[in-house]
């Protein structure tokens, strides 16, 4: 006859083993509860200290010297006649740590009659992080032919996804891209007058 005697040690071990699923479940549930509370609470300022895994940040100089998220219009062109044209430069600075595609597109347009005959060209060139190309384009060394976009203001893409043709690759870190934006009021057959068109220009990186 053989008896197997459980030592108290053994019973304790068995109890431990039995307890593990319960403990694990409890911990998992607690973590979910805690994480959900932290993430889904209705708070709107949850931005602080969010940079551990990387970030993206864009600003532009509005054709001047001060970089900001949102700047006043680069263009305020008055008293235009058919055939008139011009160009201005603006510098966009990315200070994010992530790489991505920088693209330019327009916001919604008011005054589409003029926007239909306003030709826009967009060219860009990467400049050093210390370079600030302002509206007068001094120091701009890129092209002028409309390599990124060449069409009417109305025909310009109005979303990041659509504007794939304007991509400039960013590697991450502080980078600046100088944009030259040219415009021409088309000549042929145009009898528009006293028309105004207005649009935001947006740069976005993803």
């Amino acid at each position: 006859m053989t008896y197997v005697i459980d030592t108290s040690d053994q019973r304790r071990r068995r109890a431990f083993r039995a307890a593990t699923p319960l403990a694990a479940l409890l911990v998992a549930a607690l973590l979910v509860w805690q994480g959900s509370n932290a993430a889904f609470s209705a708070s709107t300022d949850n931005t602080a200290n969010a940079w551990e895994t990387g970030n993206m940040m864009l600003e532009n100089n509005g054709g001047g010297t001060v970089f900001d998220l949102s700047t006043n219009g680069l263009f305020d062109e008055n008293d235009l006649r058919p055939g008139n044209s011009g160009a201005k430069c603006i510098t966009v600075e990315s200070t994010g740590s992530l790489s991505g595609d920088l693209r330019i597109y327009r916001g919604s347009v008011t005054g589409s009659a003029l926007a239909d005959i306003l030709t826009i060209t967009v060219d860009a060139v990467e400049v050093s992080a210390a370079t600030n190309v302002a509206a007068n384009c001094a120091g701009y060394t890129g092209g002028t032919g409309g390599a990124l976009f060449n069409g009417t203001l109305n025909g310009m893409d109005d979303s990041y996804v659509a504007a794939a043709g304007t991509s400039v690759a960013l590697d991450g870190g502080t980078e600046r891209v100088a944009y030259r934006i040219g415009w021409t009021v088309q000549d042929a057959g145009n009898s528009l007058m006293d028309e105004t068109t207005q649009a935001d220009l947006v740069w976005e990186v993803r």
Binding site: L31, A39, M56, A188, M193, E195, W203
Partner: protein, 486 residues
Amino acid sequence: MTAIAEKPQRIDLQVNEPYSKTRLVLGLLGRTWLWFLAASVVISLIPSLFGWNSYLIATGSMEPGISAGDIVVSSPGIEGHDLTGLVITFEDPSIEDHILTHRVVTVEGDGSLTTKGDANPTPDTTPVRPEAVTGIGRLLVQYVGLPVIWARTGDWLKLFVFIALLVGSLGAVVRDYEPVERKTPSRRIPSLSGLMALITIVGLALPAMKPTVAEAAFNASTASQGNVWRLANLTYTEAIIQHSPYLYWKLDETGSGATAADSSGNGRTGSYTPGGGSTNFTKNRPGALVNNTPNRAVRLNSANACINTTSNTAISAPQVFTVIAWFKAPSTYTSGGKLIGFERPRTGVLAPSGGAYDRHIYMDGQGRIWFGVYNNAHVALSSSTGLNNNGWHMAVGTQSSAGMRLYIDGVLVDSNSNTVAETQDGWWRAGCGNLAGWGDQWNGNNDPGTDSGTPQNRPFQAELDEITVFNTALTDTQVANLYAAR
């Protein structure tokens, strides 16, 4: 007393040999971790049995709250919720078949939502329609999807370590039993196999209930706001020149000279015939273009007065063209007459057999305006009311492959599909010309009659201004804009 000598019974005491403490600890750790994994997977997937959605977060734009590798469980239905500040899962408005997990920043007036990744400096650029919201974030199961993320991003080292740990944990659990292994294996199998079975079930269920991968995409944007381009208020004359006219007689002359200048820049001057003196013309009359300086017009005083192309070289007949004449006649003027036309010969009129004349705008005896061409028949458009009312009016006729159109004061009043006019060369003229044969297109007094072979000169003995010809057909909009700039 008999001492009962008890026969000593032999008892085999088999005391299990002590476990190694290390094995116990490793085994317990392994168990706990495996159960934790299993529980996390179950928690992330069970809600999907009840119509909730589980999303595996692929990127970190919701840091620090939500990281890549976390699973977000969202509940469908957003009615009755104030979404401001809540984390929602939604179909990315800018990419098809792309789920995003971001926080609602503001609910716009039209119900669309402005969203933002917590780690992004600026809100998403495309607003989200309420229909695109797939749910409100409810449960966050952290880290559980990391192996999938590692597999997606090719982070093979981490994935290998994870799998090694998984295998190691299973091993540790098994080894935890080894010291008692020999005799009674049956009792521990259920608990171990329970864990194994759970892992297997979860493993099988995972692909079936696989959570959709949701991006919490990094993005940032910057804007140059309110760029404005504003056109000058072009004068009528500037607008006409903008359209590249073939000839443009503004009739702004003041002296008694015979030359009518061509403002088109093409040098196609006209001649006041017979001479620019006051017998036949009164120049420097108040013109039609109130917003233009100078604003002068000409009155034709005699039946002989006409303004003809000066050059003797015949002009080949255009089949696409626009003719414009501004005119003013008192209500007492009922003899009509030709405002502008293309005619052979250059001056005067010939019998119908020897001449050609069409592309003309003329006024009939009731003051109506007609625009006619000759295409082996008289083809004409007309205004429905008389315009001999002592006011300036703009008459525009166009012919192109789209047909003929007649505009009065910038408004289209009649059109047809005729695309062909007289093919003979000729010369442009204003204020006079043959109308023999156009009697069917005439109302009221002074009917030019049928094509009888008799020349029928119909001078317009009233005021004319801004005689213009284009070898293009202006559009409705262009004509309307021109009139508006008068």
